[in-house]
């Protein structure tokens, strides 16, 4: 099954991590998904920083984003778990609280919009696993990617599980399944389900780096060649933040970070340049070497 989706990129991916956008745009059509870019999405807005300031404003902006696709009848697909988390949480609250929905719609009236509750939202990993199916990936793999991969699910892709409606947080396996399909070997490692720590950096930098350090060291101890992520925030923390953590802890992790669409693209014969690996801050040598073997 293929399908057409309203693509919501969020903030970080198109501005600071366009390699993730490039990978998604180049890989998903090969799997039968089509993206519609004609929607005026704003920031979702982000749940770790904006919701704690003003929940009602957060809900209102989320409701606007949801309302944009209702007429077209498309499902929103996003490469960012921050976006899918915000929109699904907002949808959950609005659909279960008539008073709140009425209040938010009162505000939306000022811009001639209305939230009806018809929109659906999925992260691209969920689109891949549930709508398209990993068999589609299997069909486009050209040469197996012989890499040991540490899966990092992050927080918002799966939690709160009752609202996100995807895999159970502690037993999730889609990233490990994907790794096997592209010919890699998923490694079991301590701290798989630990938060990346980036958000904590705004109030407690030492704590933020401590979490990253735990992650890198345990992935490294398990022999991982790469960390596999689904989230731009985790990507930033692990890629850009790796040098900072290495310096603080006097460690040499040298562990490349891959967004899951990049892993698929590389296995499907797209080049490392197509997947934007040259834009990474942490060297991707182990990954590129594995590609040369093909």
């Amino acid at each position: 099954m293929g399908g057409r989706y309203a693509l919501m990129l969020g903030c970080l991916i198109p501005s600071r991590l366009p390699q993730i956008e490039a990978a998604c745009r180049r890989v998903f059509p090969l799997l039968g998904a089509e993206f519609d870019d004609n929607f005026d999405f704003s920031c979702c807005p982000n749940s770790p920083f904006i919701k704690p300031l003003d929940k009602e404003a957060w809900l209102t902006m989320a409701a606007r984003n949801l309302s944009l696709v209702e007429e077209a009848g498309l499902t929103i697909a996003t490469p960012c778990p921050g976006c899918s988390n915000t929109l699904l949480e907002a949808k959950h609250e609005l659909d279960h609280d008539k008073e709140l929905k009425a209040r938010v719609n009162e505000r939306l009236k000022n811009i001639d919009r209305e939230y009806k509750g018809k929109a659906n939202v999925r992260h691209l990993l969920q689109v891949l696993v549930e709508d398209l199916g990993l068999k589609k990936v299997e069909a486009i793999v050209k040469t197996p990617l012989k890499l040991k991969v540490a899966a990092h699910y992050g927080c918002h892709l799966l939690k709160p599980s009752k609202v996100m409606g995807f895999e159970e947080p502690f037993t999730a396996h889609s990233l490990e399944d994907l790794t096997k399909v592209v010919g890699g070997e998923p490694v079991e490692y301590e701290n798989r389900d630990l938060c990346c720590g980036l958000v904590l950096g705004s109030t407690h930098l030492d704590g933020s780096l401590d979490l990253a350090h735990r992650k890198f060291s345990s992935a490294k101890a398990a022999g991982a060649d790469a960390l596999l992520v689904t989230c731009p925030t985790c990507f930033l923390q692990f890629d850009t933040g790796q040098m900072r953590a290495a310096k603080k802890f006097g460690a040499d992790y040298s562990i490349p970070v891959l967004y899951f669409a990049q892993l698929i693209g590389l296995a499907a014969g797209l080049t490392d340049k197509d997947m934007g690996l040259h834009a990474h801050r942490t060297k991707t040598t182990t990954v590129v070497d594995a590609l040369k073997g093909r």
């Binding site: 704003s42 920031c43 770790p48 919701k51 704690p52 404003a57 505000r107 709160p160 599980s161 720590g197």
Partner: protein, 167 residues
Amino acid sequence: MSGHDVEGNPLGPYAKDLHTLLDAQGIPHCYQCSRCTSACPSALATGAFNPRKIILQLLLGELPEVTAEDTVWMCVNCHSCEEACPKEVRVAGIMNALRNEGFKAGKAPKGYTGNANLLLASGLVASLQGVDRARTQVGLGKMRMPNIEEIRKLLEGTELKAKGGGN
């Protein structure tokens, strides 16, 4: 328990509706097992933030005044606490409601208000410096920007618009 502490004394600086809101998040069901804190990455990494203790204060009817330095701002909104809670207390929702009060009182850390500033300036929480170059480097064209006028109009009358990043 709304509006009064365990001895029936009226409560401090917070409005009664906050208590109602907090009760609705399941506070009365908490029996202090501390699974929330055990599951919390911020508690692990900072040794300072402790959601169980914050909930204990609320159970005792003490509503601490939230300052910009308060540990509650160390909550990363990951919802690990809620996955772990055996009583379905909405721990992350509680940490959020407390911070909303702090922001209303003009007390939020710069790390947060900086994000509000970005949002009000462009409709996105992103610094737009060097974006074109970064996108060209991976073969992508210009980034699409949202209709900021419409968003500002939508946020008219909200705390976020009124206070923005200005505290």
